[in-house]
Symmetry: C2
Subunit: 348 residues, 2 copies
């Protein structure tokens, strides 16, 4: 049995759930975060509200963060990254780098919860004009405005009359190499569409989608609600090009349900950019020698019956570092990884 | 701190993950299962292979079961149900009924993992003729055949030339009151379609869907693979009626992409029946006084940031008793609930 603390890398929803779980089981955790703050993507990207419950993201994540920082069993080290590891199962010596200074920590087991990065819509889908037109924004740009309880045309600061979301930007796309569905964007776009209608009840809001993947209870909690209570228009269609005419964006493509081409003027276009393995996820895969699965996320063993164990003994993984994950996935995996990492430490 | 064992109710994937997790943390678990065997729905309904990894379901679940039954920290009680509870947080007296005899167990905390039942396609969607036509079957009927490495027309025992799946039977349907998406059926139908093509390479296989919800890495691992490697045909369409003509079933409806009515003869029609809260889930909600969420599943507190805690102290929940869940969801929640239930027992 190792009494060394358990290392959690990454302080987003999965890592926070893991660190708190370890502490609740009476063990010491060390949480290393590369940013100067905890909270992960919901805080970094300034999410307005959580999906699907519309709770204020900063408030909800703040509670999770406080539960960790208030717990004497958790040592939080921000502005830091893990750069190397020596030793193995039960007694690993991990180097943690903070700016110019570094230190070595003895740990019993490790949880990698380094999450995802958003796809950069300029990289390979410049057809949507993200870097060309001010009024083409991303889901996270939209979240930042909604967090300020406003939604405007960036080019003019005026209220838009028409807004559309384009789903699957950087997802389900062999051309750019991202063959996966990013899982959460249909739900998040539906939530954002409702928040826009709350602020601008007269705006026309459209969602262009391939398949509207509001799985589970997101079906009526988000998708039906957006249509019935907020009059959001969902159009199954492929957008192939965005151009500009005067101060309007022209969205061109095909309405596949109507089987006809479409060309619709819009004031604001929101690109629902998907998930990719984060830089931190790729780096930690390298440091801990973790095999990747076929999409480039960290691979787990045991198929669907073992969600957090890697092929390296004592190294567990949680959240979107394993593939596209919603908040529930990340939090459940964080707790599961806490259990597995503690059980591992007891036996090694 | 209570040294009483932790009670796990239901021995499917979530309950097995929970019981093993508790044992791995060095605590005693009592696993109560109403059937005479463990394994839950994958075993009860004779699933052929797991989604998405195609692993033999009996073998994979068998390993999970063995890990629990071989563990000295877990007492397994089959053929039994929990009928009442007295006391509260940290020291609950639970009555367990086995046929005519009963006993009382002192437990420190409880995990409810009583899962789902499949929607009965005869109940309110008799339009599909499940109880009328032998060759209209359900996903689970298909799984039973595939488990025997065969796929035939039930009416004749012959190999079908054409097979179709109809998605969202008992899901996404306000008429019958099931407003949720059952989450897993698009993936399972895609898997089954591929297994049918493995057995019958010349059969034409169709999937009629509303939205093809192959979220995350199911996108290419299942949906693209089915189309590209197995030539499964996906048709966005609504089936409104099934009739019989000679020895063929006539599937009538609308191809919404082509925007025209369709009337296609089929040898076998597979209804992708969705999830409903199981009888056991409803019973345990009653016994433990657990509030239900709006769809009739057991409600959790804390929105997406707390997936297994209920409003009753010391009673946790995991898997499809909380809503539609895939295997990953169930296993992650099982492990998370094990952690939370152990932490609760340490403090109470």
């Amino acid at each position: 049995m190792s009494d060394n603390p358990i290392l959690v890398i990454g302080g987003g929803p999965a890592g926070l759930a893991a660190a708190k779980g370890i502490a609740d089981l009476g063990r010491k955790a060390v949480l290393v975060e590369k940013e100067e703050y905890l909270g992960g993507t919901p805080i970094k990207e300034k999410y307005a509200a959580l999906t699907p419950d519309f709770r204020d993201a900063e408030e909800a994540m703040g509670e999770m963060i406080k539960a960790v920082t208030d717990d004497g069993n958790v040592e939080v080290i921000t502005n830091s990254t893990v750069t190397s590891v020596e030793g193995s199962a039960g007694n690993m010596k991990v180097s943690v780098q903070n700016g110019g200074s570094g230190k070595t920590i003895d740990v019993s087991s490790v949880i990698v919860s380094t999450g995802f990065d958003h796809f950069d819509p300029g990289e390979e889908t410049q057809v949507y004009g993200y870097y060309e037109y001010d009024d083409v924004i991303t889901l996270t740009d939209a979240e930042k405005m909604l967090k300020e309880h406003k939604f405007v045309k960036p080019s003019s600061g005026e209220a838009p009359e028409s807004v559309c979301f384009i789903q699957c930007v950087g997802s389900r796309d062999r051309q750019i190499g991202n063959q996966w569905c990013s899982k959460v964007c249909c739900g998040i776009a539906s939530k954002d569409a409702m928040e826009i209608k709350q602020i601008l009840p007269d705006a026309k809001v459209f969602v262009f989608y391939i398949d509207l993947r509001a799985y589970g209870c997101w079906e009526d909690d988000l998708y039906w609600k957006a249509q019935e209570e907020y009059k959001v228009n969902y159009i199954k269609g492929i957008v192939t090009e965005i151009t500009k005419q005067g101060d309007k964006l022209i969205v061109k493509g095909e309405d596949t349900t109507m089987g006809r081409p479409m060309e619709i003027p819009m004031d604001v276009v929101v690109l629902s950019t998907g998930m990719e393995p984060s830089e931190g996820t790729k780096e930690m895969a390298g440091v801990f020698n973790l095999p990747l699965e076929s999409h480039g996320y960290i691979g787990t063993i045991g198929g669907p019956l073992n969600t957090v164990e890697t092929s390296v003994p004592g190294v567990f993984v949680a959240g979107a570092s394993t593939g596209p994950a919603d908040l529930e996935d990340s939090v459940s995996m964080g707790g599961n990884a806490a259990m597995k990492a503690c059980a591992f430490a007891m036996k090694n």
